[in-house]
Amino acid sequence: MTEAKIRTEEMLLNMGPQHPSTHGVFRVVVRTDGELILESESHIGYLHRCFEKCAEGNNYLQVVPYTDRMDYLCAMMNNWGYAVAVEKLAGIEVPERAEYIRVMVAELNRVASHLLAFGTYGLDIGAITPFLYAFRDRERILKIFEKLCGQRLNYSYVRVGGVTFDMTEEILADIEAFCDYFDPKIIDEYDNLLSYNGIFISRTANVGVMPADLAISYGVTGPSLRGSGVQRDLRRDAPYGIYDRLEFDVPVGTGEMGQLGDCWDRYMVRMREMRQSIRLVRQALAGIPEGPFCDKKAYRAVKPKAGETYKRVEGARGEVGFYIVSDGTNIPYRVKARAPSFSNISILDKLTSLSDVMVADLVAIIGSLDIVLGEVDR
């Protein structure tokens, strides 16, 4: 018996920077054997805008709009991360009302961000309808934000010393109406439509399994880390604002559909976090006090003493950290941002090498990490 002389060849495939499933301008060069990926190599930097250098040329209040443009899908958390860092550096007290407003807008923003992650993940897997459902509901949140600060994406709403505008009764009623509309009816609808769909589970379970120790060693944070079963959430472990006074659970991956830390787990953590966020918003709504919405002095100018500080908050994609060095002037000497997507995407090449990954799985893995390229490149 002679073996047929069939020769196979490896193929170098360039995915991106213009590709619908890389969620932005992100490029992966993959070496494939048929549909199977042997090796992948990520390339970033197509969206670099020198945030850190820009921050050195503007005063403390002017830096806030730059932070919006890092992770443009959850700008509130970026604003907040920068604000708490400057507040600590300058020793500014934030009014109680502002803290409640911050929790509300940040959690609503987290829901909006997770909705987009849910929708685009459905799109990556090939289901188009969940995307439009998600946008329908995200639109309600954006309308609330638009009413609040005139912006739909780059809010610059959370500022040093508090927030930019006070929250009116009308907006509070809007937020309450959204919470009643959204949880649990709409999230259950999403679960029915996509989360527990057989094809969806077979596409995501056991795909891109990320062991907890590997995730930690790569600095993965946020829902992607929690998907691997690690109970780590800065809102609970290193509370900032008023999170220590609020009740919420930290959902983690359970591996119920496949292995612990697969794409389905990471996806499901986001779906469950949305319920927790709505829970947090409801508590903040119930407890919001009267009072000023911003520190009067900090509203005009901030001039911290010489020194340095590092503060971090839990963004929608992980830990958003700001390291700020002050030389005593009203302009920061150095601002270094820790962007969660940057660390999260660094594990991609490792994940594709861990197991047999097909081209369709690569799309599923990138989607489950939920990166925002504006933040990766800053």
Binding site: N14, H19, E35, G126, L132, I199, S202, R203, A360, V363
Partner: protein, 438 residues
């Protein structure tokens, strides 16, 4: 001379050209046309009753042509092609529009609203836009293959319309091997797709092409098994015959089929047929590359698969072929499982049949049957759209798994089960081991 003799001769060349033509000529002249000759019948009726009116310019020449004295065969061929092609185009325009509307209303949107009432002319506008687009052939593409591929894909789909009825007697050509022809010509489409993807010289197109080839070749097997089962049960390859059998049994006294009830459909012929119809539907989704089997075009992975590099009218041909194939697989499902043009309600079906039928009841019956057939097919097309806008896409290995380890064994069991059932119940069988009833 029958205007449609030519197409039938062309398709049944084995029968002997002269004999066949003579046979049809005599039938035409005697007015006893049957079996797919209603197109011709209508035209003859129009011509002999009215002809082209006197006030039409060149009416005498036109009448001469219509009286079948000049080139009747060519004329018949062109009219047949025109009717089928026209139907495919109009269906595609309507289907694209309704697909957009269906998806929109499933997704809390309105869909096209600007061009015409409820955007009904949007597809026409898009088609015109595609016609006006620049025809780009990539510099490194294999030009002859690249140019030929869309035509082959489209022809592969269009040819399958030849033995497909649109209603009672309304058929381009009632081939003796109709179902076999549909299965066989379906393979031509794969060739066109491979040509398109390979000649584009694009790695993403190549991925799409290989996926398409894998998928379409694999899924032809469950479809083929469904066909074989139906053929064994019906004892005929002809689509007309398969449908006629689902209209109840022959009336013993006058030899007419009067239509029957819904349980006369092949779907309810035996329990295996019910299962088989589902496997056929799933496999047909894969065959026309619809979600959840839209891997060849997976827009989130391959952007658009094998036709990434195509523009303008060449792209439109792929698009047309896709929608034509959607209707085709649905219509075949209607023919082989859902009773074709029989509505399943006996009084409705019997209208216009039998020796007592008048011209009025005949016309009415024909129109009802066309309506029933098309609405069944459109309902299945709607289900295809419904599935597409609900389900995610499966992966290549899962696609193969579904075909070889799920659909194929189920189809085989249904094939054997149906055979045994037919044996036990004494139904007719193509292999001659059954007892022919009545």
């Amino acid at each position: 001379m029958n205007l449609f003799a030519f197409t039938t001769i062309f398709a049944q060349a084995g029968k002997g050209l002269g004999e066949f033509a003579g046979d049809y000529s005599s039938k035409w002249d005697a007015g006893t046309y049957d079996g797919g000759l209603v197109f011709a019948g209508i035209i003859k009726w129009l011509v002999t009753t009215w002809g082209v009116p006197e006030w039409v310019p060149l009416s005498s020449i036109l009448n001469g042509v219509l009286e079948a004295s000049v080139f009747p065969e060519i004329g018949a061929l062109l009219i047949t092609i025109g009717l089928v092609f026209g139907f495919v185009n109009i269906f595609a325009i309507g289907a694209v529009w309704s697909e957009r509307k269906v998806s929109a209303h499933m997704q809390c949107r309105l869909g096209p609203m600007e061009v015409g009432p409820h955007g009904i002319l949007q597809t026409v506008a898009d088609g015109l836009k595609l016609l006006a687009k620049e025809d780009i052939i990539p510099r490194l593409a294999d030009k002859p293959l690249f140019a030929l591929a869309p035509a082959i894909v489209f022809a592969g789909v269009l040819m399958r319309f030849v033995p497909l009825p649109f209603g009672d007697q309304l058929i381009a050509s009632d081939l003796d091997l109709g179902l076999f022809f549909i299965a066989a010509v379906g393979a031509v489409e794969v060739l066109g797709v491979i040509m398109a993807g390979w000649s584009s010289n694009n790695k993403w197109s190549l991925f799409g092409t290989i996926r398409t080839a894998t998928q379409m070749v694999s899924y032809e097997i469950p479809i083929g098994l469904a066909f074989i089962t139906v053929i064994i049960c019906s004892g005929s390859f002809s689509l007309m015959e398969i449908v006629n059998q689902q209209g109840g049994s022959l009336n013993a006294s006058d030899g007419y089929v009067y239509g029957g009830w819904i349980w006369h459909w092949n779907l309810f012929r035996n329990p295996f047929m019910l299962v088989l119809s589902i496997t056929y539907f799933i496999a047909s989704l894969a065959e026309c590359k619809r979600s959840p089997f839209d891997l060849p075009e997976a827009e989130s992975e391959l952007v658009s698969g094998f036709h990434t590099e195509y523009t303008g009218m060449r792209f439109a041909l792929f698009f047309l072929a896709e929608y034509a194939a959607m209707y085709l697989v649905a219509a075949v499902a209607v023919v082989i499982f859902l009773g074709g043009w029989w509505s399943g309600i006996y009084p409705l079906d019997a209208l216009g049949l039998g020796p007592e039928a008048t011209t009025l009841t005949k016309t009415l019956g024909l129109l009802i049957k066309v309506g029933v057939f098309l609405s069944k097919a459109f309902a299945l097309v709607f289900v295809q759209m419904w599935v597409r806008w609900t389900l995610p896409r499966i992966r290549l290995d899962q696609m193969m798994y579904v075909c070889w380890k799920v659909l194929l064994p189920i189809s085989l069991v249904c094939l054997i089960g149906s055979c045994l059932w037919e044996l036990a119940s004494g139904g007719a069988s193509v292999f001659g081991f059954g007892i022919v009833v009545e």
